[in-house]
Symmetry: D2
Subunit: 152 residues, 4 copies
DNA sequence: TTTT
DNA sequence: TTTT
């Protein structure tokens, strides 16, 4: 069942700090809002209008901790991931939907001042492999291994 | 205001027919649900589980009419677009959110039997340009020109 | 060192069979040409012209073996990867360049007839992880783990 | 003729200034090298190695002029486009290949100091459409209209 | 030839 | 060398 693709690529600015949530089993999840902009030119008035789109970014485990450590409100980041719409029942019994971007890769685009890794963070955290005698290639982007996903 | 990117790329199957809506000014909009799949292997039980993600695709004007004409429920399509979350107030006065994919490009991936264009639809419909003496390059994908967007 | 992105996404048809090469250490590499098309409308003559672009796809290890097993000349596939230009000296001492697409993910788009996996191939081969009590999420696309890259 | 996709997405730094070339018919072309990085950890020695990949970016017409005006060596940019491999015969009669990225969209990622548009450049230059009474939506990224392509 |  |  497949032959499908669900991919999102965003470049935007953090609208707030990364909010972490830690689980008993040792896992963690980080969330932050990301803003992208779109510009209109109203054909009637000729004025330019900017619309902001907010995306709910979700990162997990080591990647989440890296984000929390190095990202701040206002920073620019490239995020790659997939769209996930969760649904739940509200108090009135209505089905409600919430769409998130589950991040799988990201790259920091804000150049930080001091001894901060900005871009140069330890890529592919926790990929945890050990094949001797061969170089391990890692992306310039930080990838979140599928292996340590949590069950939600 | 910008330096941002809001891009979605999906390959999936139509969950229903394209539903058209025509406007007085001559514009039109088409909507259809698109399914992408994700596969889990439950680590405890070892069984494989498939989750389906549904995306609300929105196409406009000529592109919408092409989709309505050539796409059917079950067909596979590549869709490129941007994420747009609209909000409105429900009857109880709560703010509700609905996330759509506003398609900017697409390619039909289902091979149709008869004299149907399947892939070979007239690309870049209504791009409406006329620069003489030079070949017009057009993408293999159908692009929806920004110019004929409607105000919503 | 980074903050960069090198990503290629292709949908095309195989121009030939997957050619495998096996290494002593147990690794393997598969290569095949992939065709994408672009359509021109010549503005002077009004005739439509199709240009074909050929991409050199390179897949490694388990992913290569899956490709060899299930892909044939003419099949359609989605390939995600990165651009890599290798250079070498030709017989005349000139520097020559060859650009390849090193595949990191792919999805088969040709629906196969019989009991062939077509889409439903065992995703994420060899990701080889073992974290108990949690479901392993895997993409609908087949990912080639970075860990088993070979040194070239 | 199609159902194919040829898409490249890069974030990198300019290795040199934008080199312009103007044609008699009024068209223009801009070229610049773009660097992306990839990081290895050599499994034997444990040392981290950075490999740089150079991409030949080609931009046309108004987009080229915007690039020349606002981009400098070292600047970071997001480039979207397609892969195009050109071939020609060298002096020895050998067929030689050169792979370029024909840019279709881009976004400046370097924040400029002074009154420079950096990100806020006039998007969608020369899209040249005139549909009254409706807002024109334009991407945050600069798009190069297909219409003014030149015949090479 | 870029960047960190 | 693919596909429509």
């Amino acid at each position: 069942m497949s032959g499908t693709l669900n991919k999102v690529m965003l470049i935007g600015h953090l609208g707030d700090e990364v909010k972490m949530h830690y689980f008993e089993g040792g896992g963690s999840i980080g969330r932050f809002p990301l803003a992208t902009n779109e510009t209109y030119t109203n054909r009637t008035t000729g004025e330019r209008v900017t619309n902001t789109e907010w995306h709910n970014i979700v990162v997990r485990n080591k990647a989440a901790e890296i984000c929390e450590k190095y990202l701040s409100k206002g920073d620019r980041i490239y995020v790659e991931g997939r769209i996930k719409t969760r649904q739940w029942q509200d108090d009135s019994g209505n089905t409600r939907y919430s769409t998130e971007i589950q991040a799988t890769d990201f790259t920091f685009l804000t150049t930080k001042k001091e001894g901060q890794p900005a871009d140069g963070i330890p890529a592919k955290p926790a990929q945890g492999s050990a094949q001797p005698q061969q170089p391990q290639t890692s992306d310039p982007v930080v990838s979140t291994p599928e292996d340590d996903d949590l069950p939600f």
